[in-house]
Subunit: 322 residues, 2 copies
């Protein structure tokens, strides 16, 4: 069983490789090789007999994808993307990485003439306001960002290439992943992680929106689990609609903070400082809040059952890292 991870140095990519090293098998077969690709070289602690090859390069170069699939990997995880904010400010780069490179990859697989499972990271950004509440799996695709447009196009290509028997694709619309490790960044969604991660590290965190803002989230551990389950499920059961809205936890900021208090105590919660930001409030107001993920759930995808578990998953990650 050979596995290719495109975007292996990212948060989900790293968690996925670590989870595969721990699990050792995929689709009932022993994993022999992991080819870990990203624009920067990833490195992994590996005490197993699985061979990890790390390669760095520019995914949007026309021949890069062909090199990556030359060995006919049995499972291909495509997790590489220019994120929402950057795709919006750099139109060319967004379309180059998030669309052209996806087409190169899918066509490179076609040239190899075999039938791998392809797991494609899509996003809830394929949906745009006004929304139903909750948003069903079959809500129409109305992205309001270039990133969401590129992901929606990738979903359509994935379904058509799968229908034509070029590969066996599953597209995953990830919830917002919380708690992201690392430092606060400038993304509008950053505070969803900051208000948990920073206080747990003894630092102050800014809350720029009101406590009744609701969002759709899952942990990094669940994200890796989604990828592995998508690699393993029976494609026949999925049918022609290959793109799935994944389960998550719909929680308000107030509920998130309550969970933090239950687990870590009031002195941790006290490190959150409310500093309303109108710009962030407006952006977040256009984001989806809650999904009906019953299709993915019926196909066996699982995540946390409460935000408490998401907080606990981060504390476990902190302790492992320590």
């Amino acid at each position: 069983m050979k596995v290719l991870v495109i975007g292996a140095a990212g948060m989900i990519g790293r968690k996925l490789v670590e989870a595969m090293l721990e699990k050792g098998t995929l689709r009932g077969r022993k994993i022999s090789d992991i080819l870990a690709f990203d624009v920067v070289e990833a490195s992994f602690e590996n005490a197993t007999d699985i061979k990890i090859t790390t390669v760095s390069g520019e995914f949007s170069e026309p021949d890069q994808a062909a090199k990556l699939v030359a060995d006919k990997p049995d499972v291909i995880f495509h997790l590489a993307a220019i994120v929402s904010g950057e795709a919006e400010t750099d139109f060319d780069k967004g379309y180059r990485i998030n669309l052209a490179a996806v087409q190169y990859l899918f066509d490179a697989i076609r040239q190899q003439n075999y039938m791998p499972r392809v797991v494609y990271a899509s996003s809830i950004a394929v949906f745009g306001a006004p929304f139903d509440d909750p948003i069903r799996d079959d809500f129409h695709l109305t992205p309001l960002t270039s990133y969401g447009t590129q992901k929606a196009i990738g979903e359509l290509l994935l379904a058509d290439y799968t229908r034509k028997g070029i590969f066996d694709g599953i597209g995953l619309r990830f919830p917002t992943i919380v708690v992201r490790p690392g430092k606060p960044n400038l993304a509008a969604s950053s505070f969803f992680s900051n208000i948990i991660r920073e206080p747990l590290a003894g630092k102050e965190a800014i809350l720029p929106v009101s406590k009744d803002v609701k969002h759709w989230m899952a942990s990094p551990k669940s994200a890796a689990g989604f990828c592995i389950h998508a690699a393993e499920i029976d494609g026949e059961k999925v049918g022609p609609r290959r793109n799935l809205t994944l389960p998550g936890i719909a929680a308000t900021v107030g509920e998130m903070i309550d969970a933090l208090g239950r687990i870590a105590g009031q002195q941790v919660v006290d490190l959150i400082r409310e500093e309303p930001d109108e710009a962030v409030t407006t952006i977040v107001g256009n984001w989806p809040r809650e999904f009906d993920a019953s299709r993915a759930i019926s196909l066996g995808f699982t995540c946390e059952s409460s935000f408490d578990e998401i907080v606990q998953a981060h504390i476990d990650d902190m302790n492992e890292g320590a």
Copy 2:
């Protein structure tokens, strides 16, 4: 007012150019030039002072689109496509013409750095079974053909390029156009036109499906009218959802034949021979039957109000041609 028609030699393209010659204006301004492009050279009878330039070429060549928009046409109609059947059998050609060439066109407009109205011919093939009945404008995009996939991707690109202010696009999901002129062809949908056109020309026509099959149709004249209206409407009123399911007539084959009888008499109807074809019946069974086009109607798009009018439109066309 300079107009570019890509796909000018096709059925809708020809009708559109003729309608513009008759109307003389677009968006309240006198039409000065029509650049009529297709893979074959089109020719038009023109008694007006509008200058028509016909150009033939391969639309999927990377520099073709740039040449076509070099003069900054104010309105661009993009009607060129590989049809459904051919896009399904020739995967590369379908993606080259129906996707890559669309991207070349949109990017060529971006290079010119101006703001034309772009009218993009999409299709009800962006929807795939199982359907709601009727299918709303915001039914999810689930194409089950490569053609429908390519059209859905064009819709997404059109919306994103419009949102980014690169051009002002309107996408039109055409009903099946009936009665098509010319000879019967091998398309599965061919019989919808054949059973009207052939008997009216004194020839026998084969009906391969049962009379209770329902379909969504408009005349060639309405198709040209949709294009012109799409060129003229206020983009502000359309909002971010740029792709519209157009109005049509939902009629069963039985209702179509009744209309033919009312207008042309029983001896014409008697030329229709029922010869059930299981393959055609299966294909047509997966096609959408009826749409809720209330959004396009509220934006002023109109078509026939009964199938009788569609039959009459064809008789008028026959008489004009004679």
